[in-house]
C-alpha cells in the first residue's frame, strides 16, 4: 500500500502532533533506551532528515541515486564558510546551505535525469566521486583537503564583528546567544527535522506526490497522459538534494568541522540503507531506519573484546571464548560488517523494511483477534 493512498486531514494532523511530541521528548525516552546523549539524538535528527529527503526521490520516483552524499558535503562546506565569513548564527548557514545544495542538485540532476535505471545510479555515483576527488585535491583552498575545514577564532565573520560579537575559546554555533551544543543543539536539529517532516508530508499528500508515484509506476503511460516527467523528477531531485544539504549544514552547526569523507560513496550507500531498512516510500520509515542504524552503531562500535568477555561470562570457558570469537568481528571496528549483513538481510527477506514488518505484525494481530 502506498502512503499516498491513505490520507485524511484528521489522521495527518494527529500524525503530525504525535511526531512533534515524540521528537521533542526525545531526551526523555532516549534515556530509557540508553540513547539519552545529545550527540546521538542530534545524529538521529540529522540522518533522519537526510534519509527523509533521499526517500522523497527514491521512495516516490524509484530513481536510485548513489551520490547523495555529495549534497551533504556541499551543505557542510557552505555552513562552515558561512560560519567563517558571516556569523556563527546557524540561520544564515542553513539558508546558504539550502541554496547551494539546491543549485548543485539542479545541475547534477539535470544531467543525471537524462538517463534512468542503472545508468542514473552510475551517473550520480560518477558525480559524487568527482566531487569527492576534487574536494581532496584541487578544491583544497575551499575544503582544506584531508584535514577538513575548521572554523577558527581568527576568521573574519563580518556580521558578527559588525554587531561586536566576540568569541571566546573555540568557535561554536550560536543561535542568538544560545550555543549549539548539547541539548540546545539537538533542539535546533529537532526543529529542522519537524519542518522537514512536515514538508515531506505535504509532498506525499499533494497531487505532485501522486504524480511522482505515477512516474515510478509507469513512466510511459505518464508521457502519453500528457505529462513531461522531467521537470517533476528534477524538482524532487532538487528538494531531495536540499534535505541532504540541510543535514550537512546541521552537522557543522553542532560541530564546526567539515570533511571530505562525508562525500564518499559509502556515505551515499548508508543513506540508501537507512531508507530501505525503515521502509522505502513510507513517511516515517526512513527516519526510523536512520535512528536504528545510528543507535546500533553507537552501541556496537563501543563494544570491545573485554565487554564481550564480560557479556558471555555466564557461559563455560570454552563456549565463552567461542562466542566471543563469533561475535567479535561484528562489533567495534567490525560494525560495518554488521551493517552489510543487515543490508543484505533486509533486501533479501524484508524489502519493505521495518514499516512493512510493523504492518504485517498489526495485520496478524488483527486477524488473530477476529
Amino acid at each position: 500500500m502506498d502512503a499516498i493512498n491513505s490520507s485524511s486531514a484528521r489522521k495527518d494532523n494527529l500524525a503530525m502532533i504525535i511526531f512533534v511530541a515524540v521528537v521533542l521528548t526525545a531526551p526523555l525516552w532516549g534515556k530509557l533506551i540508553g540513547a539519552g546523549y545529545p550527540d546521538l539524538l542530534q545524529k538521529f535528527a540529522i540522518f533522519g532528515l537526510f534519509a527523509i529527503g533521499f526517500n522523497l526521490l527514491f521512495g516516490l520516483t524509484g530513481y536510485l541515486s548513489f551520490g547523495h552524499a555529495v549534497f551533504l558535503g556541499v551543505g557542510s562546506y557552505t555552513a562552515a564558510w558561512s560560519f567563517k565569513l558571516l556569523s556563527m548564527n546557524p540561520i544564515p548557514a542553513v539558508i546558504f546551505a539550502l541554496l547551494l545544495s539546491g543549485l548543485f542538485a539542479a545541475a547534477i540532476g539535470y544531467v543525471s535525469l537524462k538517463r534512468t535505471g542503472i545508468y542514473f545510479a552510475i551517473l550520480t555515483l560518477a558525480f559524487a566521486q568527482m566531487g569527492y576527488n576534487l574536494a581532496y585535491s584541487v578544491l583544497t583552498p575551499i575544503t582544506n583537503g584531508e584535514t577538513g575545514l575548521r572554523v577558527l577564532r581568527s576568521d573574519p565573520r563580518i556580521i558578527d564583528s559588525a554587531f561586536g560579537v566576540q568569541i571566546e575559546g573555540s568557535p561554536i554555533g550560536s543561535f542568538f546567544g544560545i550555543e549549539m551544543t548539547g541539548y540546545s543543539g539537538f533542539y535546533f536539529c529537532a526543529a529542522m527535522l519537524i519542518v522537514g517532516f512536515y514538508v515531506a508530508l505535504r509532498v506525499f499528500r499533494s497531487p505532485f506526490g501522486m504524480k511522482l508515484v505515477a512516474i515510478k509506476s509507469n513512466q510511459t503511460r505518464m508521457e502519453y497522459t500528457g505529462y513531461n516527467p522531467k521537470p517533476y523528477l528534477l524538482t524532487v531531485f532538487i528538494i531531495s538534494g536540499m534535505y541532504a544539504g540541510l543535514a550537512g549544514a546541521l552537522m557543522v552547526i553542532v560541530d564546526p568541522l567539515a570533511g571530505a569523507e562525508r562525500m564518499q560513496w559509502t556515505a551515499s550507500g548508508e543513506v540508501v540503507l537507512m531508507t530501505i531498512l525503515g521502509g522505502v516510500g513510507t513517511l516515517v520509515g526512513p527516519l526510523l531506519g536512520a535512528a536504528v542504524i545510528k543507535y546500533f552503531e553507537n552501541i556496537f562500535s563501543a563494544i570491545n573484546e573485554t565487554v564481550l568477555q564480560a557479556t558471555f561470562d555466564f557461559l563455560p570457558a570454552g563456549l565463552q571464548n567461542f562466542m566471543v570469537a563469533v561475535v567479535h568481528p561484528f562489533v567495534g571496528e567490525g560494525w560495518h560488517l554488521t551493517l552489510g549483513v543487515l543490508f543484505m538481510i533486509v533486501i533479501i527477506f524484508m524489502p519493505g523494511g521495518i514499516m512493512e514488518g510493523i504492518r504485517r505484525l498489526t495485520n496478524w494481530v488483527r486477524r488473530r483477534k477476529e
Binding site: 493512498n5 486531514a9 509507469n218 500528457g226
Partner: protein
Amino acid sequence: MSDNDDSYILEIIGVNKTFGGLKALSNINLKVKEGSTHAIIGPNGAGKSTLLNTCIAKLVPDSGSIIFAGRDLAHGITPHGINQIGVSRVFQTPEIFPKLSLLHNVMIPAFAKRDGFFRFNLFKWLRDEKKLKDEAMSYLDNLGLSDSAEVHAGSLSRGDKRRLELAMCLIQHPKLLLLDEPTAGMARHDTNRTIELLKDIREDGMTRIIIEHDMHVVFSLADRISVLAQGAIIAEDEPEAIKGHPGVREAYLGSAEI
C-alpha cells in the same frame, strides 16, 4: 456521408516505415473525418499497431507526415505534447499505473487535462481536489469500476485493466482517441458493454480510430474501414462495401482471423 467534405481532423500522408529492410508501412494515406469512427483491420503483422505508433511519436516514420488539427504528429513533437493537443491512446497491452488505486489512476489524466504537462502544485492537498475526484468517480462508475475505486490497479483482471485505461483516456475528453484492440481479452459480455459505452460517447464529437480483430466490434462501431495488409492499405470504404470487397476476403482468408 460524402467524401468531399473537408472536415478531416487527421490526415496521414505518404507515411513509410522500414525496420531493417522489412517494409512495415508503405505509402500509407488515410483521412479521418472529425467525429467519425474509423476502423483499421487486417491480419496480424499487417502494420496496424505500427501505424498507431507513428501517430503518437512512439515511432518516427521514415517519410511522410501525419497532420492532426494543423500540427505534424510525426516530427518535432513529444508524446506529452501530442496528448496535450488532444490525442489519447488505449494500448494493446494496457498501460496503467499498477501501484496506484483505480481512483488515482483516473485522477492523474484529469490533472493533466486541467494543469498541463507540468505544474508545481507541490503543497496543495490532494484531498482538497474534490471536484476532480468526483469526476474521476463518475468515469469509474460509467465503466462499472467504482466498486473497486480504492483497489490497486495492478490487481485487476486484464479486461478490467482495459476498461480502466479507457476511463483514463475518456476523462481527458480527447479530440482523437486511438483504440488498439480495446476489447481483446474481454469476455463477450464485457465486450458488448464496451461497445455500448463507445457508442454512447459518440455524441462528444470525439474522433476514434480503432484497431480490432473482432469483426462484431468493428461492424458495430465503424463508420469507415481501412484494410491493411503487408504494410499497405488495400481497401478503404464503408462497412457494407468492405464486407463484399474481394481483396479483403483474399487478404483475410489467408489467415485464420475471420
